[in-house]
């Protein structure tokens, strides 16, 4: 249910033509963040660790944003949920130079999108 609510928030933002992710803490990133123009789940990021890296590296780097969940999706990819979303640009900037984290990206939203919004 929590994820559904988050999705609804993200979609509502997209439908309104605004930057997504109006959760506490992310407004500072919205203005200059390319990802912000795209539908994403606020506060959720996919973090890919380098080979043999410990997932503790995620907490070390992003713990400051109040991590509420880290879920192993396999293939060194983790779904990280934050309470205080700094925005994708900040998340990316922070991992630069970190040998344990290979990449970070927003959890993006996909849909079936039929013609005229029909299924």
């Amino acid at each position: 249910m929590r994820r559904l609510i988050a999705l609804a928030v993200a979609l509502a933002g997209a439908a309104a033509g605004t930057a997504c992710g109006d959760t506490p803490g992310n407004s500072r990133a919205a203005a200059s963040d390319g990802w912000s123009q795209q539908t994403r789940v606020p506060g959720e990021y996919l973090v890919t660790l380098a080979a043999r890296a410990d997932h503790k590296a995620i907490s070390d780097l992003y713990g400051r944003f109040e991590i509420t969940d880290i879920r192993d999706l396999g293939h060194n990819v983790f779904l990280v949920t934050l309470t205080d979303d700094p925005g994708p640009a900040t998340m990316e900037k922070l991992h630069e130079g970190n040998v344990h984290i290979k990449s970070v990206q927003p959890n993006l939203v996909y849909g079936i999108r039929g013609p005229g919004n029909a299924p």
């Binding site: 996919l46 999706l73 396999g74 293939h75 990206q105 959890n107 993006l108 996909y110 849909g111 013609p115």
Partner: protein
């Protein structure tokens, strides 16, 4: 329907005439228990009669009329006419009357012939994508609702060779699948005790991928609704092994996280074809791309929809997964019933590979009624047809790699004017041609001596 009936009648007549050509020394027909026991093996109230050469058409008509019958047509063979006798006479009585007539050389029923591979599914006549005879789609929401005969995926000829694709697991990564629907229940993946509902669910994080939306069920039916079972529709494959992987919620929305889990699940549980009729506009999705790469490493063919925004995916903004460049991924545009590019279909000269029918497609649907069907439109439907073809190719050629499948789908298609310059191949899929497609040999050398 009228057009279909006319076609069947014409085919029956043509078949009867052809059979006559092969019966130069035929003996008189006598109704047998076998023919009498097979209702529908001939037109119930018609006979074909050959009069002796001395009778002109006018005389033949008069002789027939004297029996209370009517000449429906003079066949394009000397002396042959098609006669309707009608009730209350039986076939045996009508034939006996003509056999005993000294003016008649021969009489027989007007046998009904059917294409050997056309299935008996009750709504097959609405599946224009499989057999386009210019029929009107009664439940259409997209105009035109009828189209050009022959503008279809040419699957009936392929069904003479293969209808059973169940050796190839096809994952439908979508809103789930209504696995109790009457045309799907028997064609679902056997997931064993670990996955008793034929798949899994990354939206609710359980193992029940029941579809509350309908989209995934529709896609599944196009790929592999049970064929020739006298119910509903058929899929490209009459028998299939559909793995339901739910990654989109009831509103048809999902995330990178759910989708990559879905793709990984499909790959690790043996799927060799994945259909993903979903899309997103925006920047490159690295995590999703990595999942497709993993599928490639495991020799899995991935089929995706081009999208429904009338967008040029090359120049008008990228659409993923369509714009991924993996060699195991094929992206599909949609045709209407005239094989024009559908008004909503995305395209892309470098990103979209081929086209397939995508408007007014009837297929299975979600709901508690086991016999529920629906007609919808979109590149999602076109993608599903190609996924069905991919499964058929792999079932027919178990040694095929994903590269063989992609080659056969794209290069084995036929040129479509509406796709020229708008897709990589410019081709519409053609199931029979893809089935017969042979990769040209490579690495051959010849020495002239």
């Amino acid at each position: 329907m009228k057009a279909l009936l006319r076609l069947l009648a014409t085919a029956a007549l043509a078949g009867a005439v052809l059979s006559l050509l092969n019966q130069v020394a035929a003996v008189s027909f006598a109704p047998t228990a076998e023919t009498a026991a097979v209702p529908g093996s001939y037109v119930a109230d018609e006979v074909l009669v050959k009069f002796k050469p001395v009778f002109a058409a006018q005389s033949r008509t008069a002789i027939v009329a004297a029996r209370g019958h009517a000449v429906l047509a003079n066949l394009n063979r000397p002396g042959w006419v098609r006669v309707r006798f009608g009730a209350p006479q039986t076939m045996a009585q009508a034939l006996a009357a003509y056999w005993n007539d000294p003016d008649v050389e021969y009489a027989q029923p007007n046998y009904i012939y059917r294409a050997t591979a056309a299935p008996n599914d009750t709504q097959y006549g609405q599946l224009w994508a499989f057999k386009n005879i210019g029929q009107n789609i009664g439940t259409a929401s997209y105009i035109p609702a009828s189209g050009t005969p022959g503008a279809d995926i040419n699957v009936e000829k392929a069904w003479d060779h293969i209808t059973d694709c169940s050796s190839v697991v096809v994952a439908v990564v979508d809103t789930g699948v209504n696995y109790t629907q009457e045309d799907l229940a028997g064609n679902m993946w056997n997931g064993g005790p670990g996955f008793p509902h034929h798949g899994t669910d990354f939206v609710d994080s359980d193992n029940d991928p029941m579809d509350p939306n309908g989209h995934g069920t529709h896609v599944a039916g196009i790929i592999g609704a049970a064929g020739n079972n006298a119910k509903g529709i058929t899929g490209v494959c009459w028998k299939a092994s559909i793995m339901a992987v739910r990654v989109l919620n009831a509103a048809g929305i999902g995330t990178s996280a759910s989708i990559i889990q879905g793709v990984d699940f499909a790959v690790s549980h043996g799927a060799k074809v994945i259909n993903m009729s979903l899309i997103r506009g925006g920047d490159f999705d690295q995590a999703f791309s990595s999942a497709i790469t993993n599928a490639q490493a495991n020799d899995v063919a991935v089929v995706v929809a081009a999208g429904n925004e009338a967008n040029d995916n090359d120049a008008g903004g990228t659409r993923y997964p369509c714009n991924f460049t993996h060699p195991n991924l094929t992206c599909i545009a949609a045709f209407d019933q005239n094989y024009a590019l559908a008004s909503f279909s995305n395209w892309g000269a470098t990103s979209v590979d081929v086209g397939a029918p995508g408007t007014n497609i009837l297929s299975t649907w979600a709901g508690t009624n086991a016999s529920i069907y629906n007609t919808i439109t979109g590149t999602s439907m076109a993608s599903a047809e190609v996924a069905g073809l991919a499964a058929m190719l792999r079932a027919y050629n178990p040694q095929f790699t994903f590269a063989d499948v992609v080659n056969a789908v794209t290069k084995g298609g036929r040129a479509a004017a509406s796709l020229a310059g708008k897709t990589v191949s410019g081709n519409a899929i053609d199931v029979m041609s893809s089935l017969a497609f042979i990769n040209p040999p490579t690495g051959l050398t010849a020495a002239v001596q």
